[in-house]
Subunit: 298 residues, 2 copies
């Protein structure tokens, strides 16, 4: 049996097939152009595999994930040009006759990290995965399911206490200005300092400001959900940066509640090379295949 | 069958017994003095009812709710004098031989509101209950269970974007200064203006500042959990105040995601006279009675 994964990002798509041990058998990536062209490339890739039994899609958003909603499976109102109101899942389904799972990019990554932790014998009842990249988002696995009843979380748009050395920065979110995403997404480096984050050494004070905000995100999630682990991925994140985040988190928490060893609690992904979502997708695709075959038996 | 409820607050206890329709049969309240005296009063009350079959306790905290923890059933490190490391549940169990459920005050209230919504044929998959009173806390029912794996939520201690007209106020939280609780708990009125909240008309600008912060709390919960309803209780809250909160929430959200009718989404409790926790306790006690009798059959 082969399982399919689409990690649909605003910049690029990664499509892969893997086996039931979630090992990648073949993988391709291609830029996110028009919906028709990009989704067709995904379809062409999967058509090659006759023993493909299921697919999971982890997509950029916002997307409609409520199964009873009219526009279930759509990318909804997205700032990504050309993609608003795209029937992503419907286009796949009309071309590929296998069970399909549909969720957000960060949910896919959260699930992958949940699976990888289990392989290390860490049975996590609750794990949150944040991405800090072009945008900011998070997904949470709780008791094996995703949090989000009225829709998926949009944690990137919470407000934060502003850093005293950053009060003049307005933030870059077109909706909210200085929400979490508006303060720490990758493009904030250019907005603040006129150069890319990768060109700014970790010794620059801007990284302390970033860490202060990201630590508040971790604090909010901790105080709201009390998860066992918070994983940070995305282009802005590095182990050196997370060291700063842990330091700020410690100050903000001020020993109020115990989260255990902070190095195990606030961490980089276990999956290497941004592979969390692909592993999560394989596992979700398998879960969907099993769910559908149980229904067929009944 | 009678069901027992203890709503254990830092100021007073309310103990009640009710029937399986969650109607109160008898109720008493008494001030929170020493643990021994206050818990003994609860025991004496319940001893009167020979057909009492189960009890649920919704307690102020922090408390230990992890069933496998050494100090399960304890009030842990609390600022309430004399109550730190009180084996609350153990004291009850040594005197009363019925199944007991143990949770936080806000979880008890959240569960009561969840039950009352169901009676109105609103099957809520996710509901959050905030109290804004002497302290600030929240509980969330998700798929009939409480959120909180490493322990119960402590949402009162998140940080917020400060209101421009409130920047000089340091906040009153002894741990964090200007966290949510430090900015909006009842005693902040005296700290800001030297008089009690009940003596300050809703037209005073301080209520706009309060609403801005409480709206951020609602926003955080919305973006993290996407619940179907957020209920606000506690002494600071009134319908007139929630009107201001909804207004601030609308500005902060800026149409980013749809939560439906805001009057149904951000609401006062359905239970009258702070009765949410008592109803929640009756329902949780019944659930515990049923769980234990299932175990006994097995």
């Amino acid at each position: 049996m082969l399982l399919g994964s689409i990690e649909a990002g605003g910049t690029k798509f990664v499509a892969a097939v893997g086996n039931e041990q979630y090992q990648v058998q073949e993988k391709i990536q291609y830029p996110t152009t028009t919906p028709r062209e990009t989704i067709q490339k995904s379809i062409n890739f999967f058509k090659k595999f006759s023993d493909l039994r299921g697919i999971s899609v982890a997509s950029f958003g916002p997307i409609e994930i409520r199964k009873n909603a009219t526009f279930y499976g759509y990318v909804t109102d997205t700032p990504k040009p050309g993609w608003s109101h795209t029937n992503f899942l419907g286009m796949l389904r009309s071309a590929l006759d296998v069970p399909m799972y549909w969720t957000t990019d960060v949910n896919g990554s959260a699930y992958g990290e949940y699976i990888l932790a289990m392989r290390l014998n860490q049975k996590l009842e609750a794990l949150t995965y944040y991405t800090i990249g072009t945008g900011v988002g998070a997904g949470t696995v709780l008791d094996g399911k995703f949090i989000g009843t009225l829709g998926h979380p949009e944690i990137g748009h919470v407000r934060l206490k502003r850093h005293p050395d950053d009060l003049s920065f307005k933030g870059i979110c077109p909706y909210h200005g200085d929400c979490l995403e508006g303060l720490v997404a990758g493009p904030t480096f250019e907005a603040r300092l006129g150069k890319k984050g990768q060109d700014i050494p970790l010794t620059d004070h801007v990284w302390d400001i970033m860490a202060y905000y990201v630590a508040q995100a971790a604090l909010q999630t901790t105080l709201q959900l009390r998860p066992q682990k918070i994983v940070f991925g995305g282009g802005v994140v590095s182990e050196e940066f997370l060291k700063k985040v842990r330091k700020e988190f410690t100050v903000l928490m001020n020993n109020y509640i115990d989260v255990g060893d902070l190095e195990d609690y606030i961490t980089m992904p276990l999956a290497k090379n941004n592979g969390s979502a692909t592993i999560g997708n394989f596992a979700l695709a398998l879960k969907e295949v099993n769910r559908v075959s149980r229904l067929e038996i009944l």
